[in-house]
């Protein structure tokens, strides 16, 4: 039996450009669990993802983020990545001239220094997963996200996840911009990757991804606070009724 994977977010508050976005957020995610994070636009969902990975534009004003007992607040993004945290960005940025192959290999070496995979074996691994997420091999020599469509960017986020093998994964609206077939491919990759040492926090507005990747826990973020928690029934009710009934509480 391996070590338990556990992310504990306690009383987390954060602001962007002086504006308080998260207030006292509490959330625990353990290996083998799938969580959905829902909430109206502007509730702070993407902020939570960015705060977790240590984006420098987001300032933590209180609380803690512990991954397997290690405090991540105050740590650099790369240290958090090494601890096993991963964010699939909602709008991944294009980086002209930075070749996917070189970038991914550097990232992989940093995150798994103990694994001595030859360049060829590494590329074979990447190639096989490129196919699985529906991208052809030519993407390997393209610049990261540069000239990619919205859907291609999302596929690449999942590809990176599979190659880099993080433990706690935040998927920020991974379903937006994907057609039904692409969503199917991506979901299969996610489910194949999922095990009792990994956990997902799926940020979404829609049922269509939650139908494929069934969450045991659903959290609703409103005005920077967790306003409601429940199971998949909660997600269904939101799909049918919106958020007003929670606001009314």
């Amino acid at each position: 039996m391996g070590i338990m994977t556990e992310l504990i977010i306690k009383n987390l508050s954060a602001r962007v450009e002086g504006k308080e976005i998260l207030r006292d957020v509490n959330l625990t995610v353990r290996g083998g669990e799938i969580h959905a994070l829902m909430g109206p636009n502007g509730a702070g969902k993407s902020t939570l993802g960015n705060v977790l990975i240590g984006h420098p534009n987001y300032e933590i004003t209180g609380g803690s983020i512990k991954l397997d007992g290690v405090e991540l607040v105050g740590k650099y993004p790369e240290e958090r990545a090494r601890a096993g945290l991963y964010l699939a960005f909602q709008s991944p940025v294009a980086i002209p001239g930075v070749k996917l192959s070189a970038f991914l290999r550097t990232a992989y070496k940093n995150l798994h220094p103990e694994e001595k995979l030859s360049v060829n074996d590494f590329y074979k691994l990447v190639s096989s997963h490129l196919k699985k997420v529906g991208l052809d091999e030519s993407f390997m020599s393209r610049s990261v996200n540069d000239g990619f469509s919205g859907g291609e960017r999302k596929r690449l986020e999942i590809l990176q996840m599979v190659i880099l093998r993080p433990k706690i994964i935040v998927l920020d609206e991974i379903d937006s911009g994907l057609d039904v077939d692409a969503l199917g491919l991506i979901s299969d990759e996610i489910l194949q990757f999922f095990n009792d040492q990994t956990a997902f926090l799926i940020v979404t507005h829609y049922q269509r991804i939650l139908k494929r990747i069934d969450p045991q826990f659903v959290h609703v973020l409103m005005n920077g606070k967790i306003a409601k928690e429940g199971d998949r029934e909660l997600a269904l009710r939101i799909e049918n009724e919106g958020y007003d009934w929670i606001r009314g509480n």
Partner: protein, 483 residues
């Protein structure tokens, strides 16, 4: 297709590893050695010093006369004030000629131990074995080593330091010496004319195509010295050649001066490529004058990487003298903290159907200043000539700066020319994205910088790309905080 990509990447990775292994672990080229020159003219410059240099070299009279004339011109010309501040050049405290020793040999075994050690740390003998058709090594003012593979020697190729060439091929040298760059050209060219020492002479006979590059490596070692090499490359009719220069110096406090002349003659239907990687220490004023004369249907390619130095003023120029002559400049400048890179290119179209292409990329770090300064001249009668200039700047920090001063003189109505310029700043989003995948800040920023250079790197020789790659990564990792 991918397999090819993979193996190329793998090859680059292996080469990078091997480069790492053969260079000193400590801080690469910044090591100093305690070698003292065997002879020096001491500090300062006057007629006596120039005569002394000429005496030591036991030169023909015509050369001595050029030196003395050049000294007069140097003394008469004011220090240029239209560019970066040059007031830090301490003319009186520079020693203008420093002879490392007596030997100039074609066997590394005969090079004095300490100097040999220096070049070994820089990986020169190993490079020579692997990639080069010939090699010259200069230490302070004189060449200490030269070699040329027999196959090229047999075809009449001449490659040696200029001093030796004057002794062995006086007529050939005289034909080209200071023709493209006359001693009247500018103050620094005049200075070079007066005190020049070392540099290379490369002559490629008609129709000879040298398929491996030839390299000269310049090393400055002692502080407060000047290095004034004069290099001449002649690609005779229908020949082709690739000549590479590398330069380094250790880190000093006292300012030093490097003022070279490079003259390249691309004759009819010939092709010459000149690649240089300059990585001087941050106390060096680097003021070379580089020029190519390109005759009918000749092709000249300048590839330059300018790192280090305190101030660099460098504008390799191409004089397109014959119909259908062409020139391209690819230049990468890195302006580190406290440094000024005033670099660019000149293209002068004198003949019909000539083309020039200039791509300049600069990176400014902290308060580093990168300036593009260029001249494009298309004379009347240079019908249907074409030119394209592209300059891109990347600023790493808020206080980093970049300026562009293109200057166009177009006198021919049928000529076409275009300019493109861009300035970008390294972004938090890009950095954070890469870091969130486990890359350190250094790795992320050097990857973004190299990405910015990618389109140039694709067009340049692989060994050069690797060296630039390595140097930029080192420069970025010294930076610490970025953004």
């Amino acid at each position: 297709m991918e397999i090819q990509n993979m193996s190329k990447d793998e090859e680059i990775e292996k080469l990078l590893e091997s480069v790492k292994n053969i260079t000193s672990k400590k801080s690469d080229w910044e090591f100093k050695d305690s070698f003292k020159p065997q002879y020096t003219t001491g500090k300062g410059l006057n007629r006596k010093v120039v005569e002394e240099i000429s005496d030591i070299k036991n030169e023909p009279d015509w050369m001595r006369r050029i030196r003395l004339k050049a000294l007069e011109i140097f003394e008469a010309k004011p220090v240029p004030t239209w560019g970066p501040d040059l007031s830090g050049i301490d003319w009186e405290n520079i020693s203008y000629y420093n002879k490392p020793g007596d030997s100039n040999t074609n066997s590394w075994d005969d090079v004095p131990e300490m100097i040999k050690d220096t070049f070994q740390k820089l990986g020169i003998p190993e490079m020579e074995q692997k990639y080069l058709a010939g090699s010259v090594a200069q230490y302070e003012s004189e060449g200490v080593y030269h070699s040329l593979r027999k196959v090229w020697e047999d075809k009449g190729v001449v490659f040696m330091d200029l001093d030796s060439a004057i002794r062995e091929h006086p007529d050939l040298v005289k034909q080209y010496f200071c023709k493209a760059v006359p001693i009247t050209d500018n103050k620094f060219a005049a200075l070079n004319g007066a005190v020049w020492s070392g540099g290379s002479f490369l002559y490629v006979p008609k129709g000879v195509h040298i398929d491996m590059p030839l390299q000269t490596y310049f090393r400055m070692n002692n502080e407060g010295t000047g290095q004034f090499e004069h290099t001449i490359v002649v690609a005779d009719e229908g020949s082709s050649v690739h000549y590479i220069e590398g330069c380094t110096a250790p880190r000093w406090d006292k300012n030093s001066l490097h003022s070279a002349i490079v003259e390249i003659y691309v004759n009819k239907n010939a092709k010459a490529r000149y690649t240089s990687v300059q990585n001087w220490s941050k106390s060096v004023y680097n003021m070379p004058t580089k020029r190519a004369w390109v005759e009918e249907n000749g092709q000249m390619e300048w590839v330059g990487g300018s790192l280090g130095s305190k101030v660099t003023m460098l504008y390799p120029s191409s004089y397109l003298r014959g119909p259908h002559a062409s020139a391209s400049n690819l230049n990468i400048s890195l302006a580190g903290p406290g440094t000024v890179k005033d670099t660019g290119a000149k293209a002068l179209h004198f003949a019909p159907y000539t083309t020039s292409k200039i791509v300049a990329k600069s990176i400014s770090i902290e308060d580093g200043k990168a300036i593009y300064r260029g001249l494009l001249r298309i004379n009347k009668g240079a019908v249907e000539s074409k030119s394209h200039v592209q300059c891109d700047a990347l600023l790493i920090n808020d206080e980093s700066a970049s300026y562009t001063f293109p200057h166009d003189e177009i006198y021919e109505p049928t000529a076409t020319f275009g300019h493109e310029a861009s300035v970008g700043k390294i972004g938090t989003e890009e950095l954070t994205y890469l870091r969130s995948r486990g890359l350190s800040e250094d790795e992320a920023s050097s990857m973004i910088v190299l990405g910015f250079l990618d389109d140039v790197m694709r067009e340049i020789p692989m060994e050069f790309a690797i060296e630039m790659n390595r140097l930029i990564k080192m420069e970025m990792s010294k930076m610490g905080a970025v953004g």
